[in-house]
């Protein structure tokens, strides 16, 4: 245990140098033969992605009736999936922007993984509200474009706020991810030996030279971008919460929803980053730059978020009784014992109860166990969104319209397919993009070494 304590404090292994980090990370992309597990994972993702294509084609042919939704449960899987994906995306942005502003040293090795995850989670999130529209081909009506009908979108609606928020968030995430990668793309360009690599990374790096002029502007721009991203991500998920809070539906009409949603978003974000970091650290032999410290910090943050969400769950039970509104109490009690009770208790177990194991360091550094806990949280957060969306709607104010939502095959196919889109994108990035921010690691190593030992390998 003494050794582990020593290891947990280290943000980078002592034998890593500026040169070794650069060659290790870029060789994964440029030199190493594509490993077998990558092909297996890629094939699996491709199969899931094909399922998404089939599910969407069938949806576009037949309409949203292929799903289990009906009145009054008109928001089924699509909206739950949307909130879930955008929540995980938020966690990645929190790691890369908020912890950049706090100058946290552990951020540098994990931010690229987190940002890449964010880009594809946001993409998965982005398609969900559009396919849920029913007449999805009119989705551009959400834009305030000049039209002969003389109409405008309803800017006062939380649903329109949400459209703007997610659009800005997707654009900003991609920009932030790409700009933060340009110096690394230049490194790849300079190390590339094959012609296609030189061209590919050369074009992507856009001629980055690493000159003092470039770094001067880059540092300012990146700092400002990061300081925009941190409030942006909070606003995005708050607005997702407002989509619900703005409705009068029992169980949704809660003042606590914006922070409640952020807690959940960040919880699932840390969980999915752990689910990606733990296997990638092993598969790419990144133990030198992604140390136990990173794993430990992410696990602690997950525990913190789990406590926050536990508080939100508690408030969720308290408020209906405090308010005394009959239908709020009906929805709450149906959560405890009704048709969706299994889901409700699963969310409590996966998001709040089981993560309490993270109080113990032995659990935090036990990677297989931590991976399972994180997977539980990711699934638990999906369940939370599902319960929020469906259980409130299925006990409407008008008791004659009470209804039980049962997902169909196509609901599950869309969910699994969106996971395919995410995995497909992430597997491609893992193969073709530097998965650790090399220039930040070089700077970190130089600082750790007190300004010495930088440059050539000893």
């Amino acid at each position: 245990m003494a050794l582990a304590a020593e290891e947990i404090r280290r943000v980078v292994a002592p034998d890593e140098t500026v040169t070794s980090v650069t060659s290790h990370v870029s060789d994964i992309v440029l030199e190493k033969k594509t490993p077998l597990w990558w092909w297996i994972g890629f094939g699996f993702s491709l199969a899931l992605f094909a399922l998404l294509i089939v599910a969407l084609t069938w949806l576009f042919v037949n309409g949203v009736g292929i799903w289990g939704i009906d009145w009054p449960v008109a928001w089924g899987f699509a909206i739950g999936n949307y909130v879930w994906w955008v929540g995980m995306a938020s966690g990645g942005t929190i790691i890369s922007s908020l912890f950049f502003l706090t100058r946290s040293e552990w951020r540098s090795a994990t931010n690229r993984i987190a940002e890449s995850m964010t880009v594809f989670c946001a993409a998965c999130a982005g398609i969900m509200p559009i396919i849920h529209l029913g007449r999805w081909w009119y989705f551009y009506w959400l834009f305030p474009y000049p039209n002969v009908m003389g109409t405008w979108p309803q800017f006062r609606s939380p649903l329109h706020w949400d459209f703007v928020a997610i659009l800005v968030y997707v654009i900003a995430s991609i920009v932030f991810w790409y700009v933060g990668m340009i110096p690394d793309l230049a490194t790849l360009r300079d190390r590339a030996t094959r012609r296609w690599q030189q061209l590919f990374y050369g074009v992507l790096a856009m001629g980055w030279q690493g000159s003092s002029r470039h770094w001067r502007q880059f540092k300012v721009a990146y700092l400002i971008l990061a300081s925009f991203m941190a409030p942006l991500v909070c606003s995005v998920h708050s607005i997702v919460g407002l989509d619900f809070a703005g409705g009068l539906t029992p169980g949704w009409h809660e003042t606590q929803f914006p922070p409640y949603f952020i807690f959940g978003a960040v919880l699932s974000g840390f969980a999915i980053v752990l689910m990606l970091v733990i296997p990638m650290r092993r598969a790419f032999d990144l133990g030198g730059v992604i140390t136990l410290r990173h794993i430990d910090v992410l696990a602690r943050l997950m525990l913190t978020c789990s406590l926050l969400i536990g508080y939100a769950y508690l408030l969720e039970v308290f408020m209906p009784f405090y308010r005394g509104e009959r239908h709020d109490i009906i929805v709450l009690l149906s959560n405890f014992t009704g048709y969706y009770a299994g889901w409700y208790w699963a969310k409590i177990a996966l998001n709040f109860a089981i993560p309490q194991l993270l109080w113990f360091r032995a659990v935090r550094v036990n990677r297989p166990l931590l991976f399972l806990i994180s997977a539980g949280v990711v699934i638990g957060m999906w369940i939370e969104r599902y319960v929020i969306v469906v259980s409130s709607l299925h006990r409407d104010y008008s008791e004659s319209s009470w209804f039980v939502f049962r997902p169909t095959f196509w609901d599950w196919a869309t969910l699994a397919g969106s996971a395919g889109l995410f995995l497909l994108g992430f597997f491609l990035l893992m193969r073709f993009m530097p998965m650790v921010s090399m220039f930040e690691m070089r700077e970190l190593i130089r600082r750790k070494n007190g300004g010495h030992n930088e440059g050539a390998a000893p």
């Binding site: 800017f155 329109h160 900003a172 690493g210 000159s211 470039h214 770094w215 880059f218 407002l242 070089r442």
Partner: protein, 178 residues
């Protein structure tokens, strides 16, 4: 001016402190057209060269202000002038409801113009530059610190620079063809 057919010379240092010493010396000697290529941002370089990114934050701030005003006006125009809806006599300029979209559009404008400004100030994209032909420049994006002295500098004297720079440790000096 003694740099016929020369873009300049480059000195690639293995150590950052050696590069900074050489840079200080060159700066003291009055060289103006110097550029430094490093694998990560080295703050001391900007101090020695006496430069900072002055306009970029101002540009981003201006973009944010424009985004805020434009974003609010867009909603005001749409809801109060373009397509007014009388819902129970509520005011058309329902500004609290415009807050989140104004915030998002502020950030969108600031980020897009900020990144555009970053590329413009960096003069990117720029796929060809003579300095890319400099021997050893590819290590500047990995683990070496490269100083380039342009032949167009008034004080440029190739042989003398070679002599001065060679006195530092772990340095490789080379010509950059124009």
């Amino acid at each position: 001016m003694s740099g016929n057919g020369l873009y300049g010379i480059v000195a690639a240092f293995e150590r950052q402190d050696q590069m900074l010493n050489a840079l200080r010396r060159l700066k003291l000697a009055g060289f103006e057209r110097i550029e430094v290529y490093t694998p990560f941002a080295v703050e001391e370089v900007d101090e020695i060269l006496g430069k900072r990114a002055f306009w970029l934050p101002i540009l981003i701030f201006a973009a944010g202000v424009a985004g805020a005003i434009g974003g609010f006006f867009l909603q005001y125009y749409g809801m109060a002038i373009g397509y007014p809806l009388n819902i129970g006599g509520r005011p058309l300029n329902s500004w609290p409801a415009f807050g989140t979209t104004t915030f998002e559009l502020t950030i969108l404008a600031a980020i897009l113009i900020g990144v555009g400004g970053l590329f413009a100030f960096c003069r990117l994209p720029r796929l060809y530059d003579p300095v890319f032909a400099a021997p050893g420049i590819e290590r500047a994006s990995q683990d070496q610190f490269v100083i380039c002295i342009r032949a167009s500098d008034e004080r440029f004297d190739r042989d003398r620079l070679y002599w001065v720079l060679n006195r530092y440790e772990h340095v490789a000096i080379a010509d950059v063809p124009a």
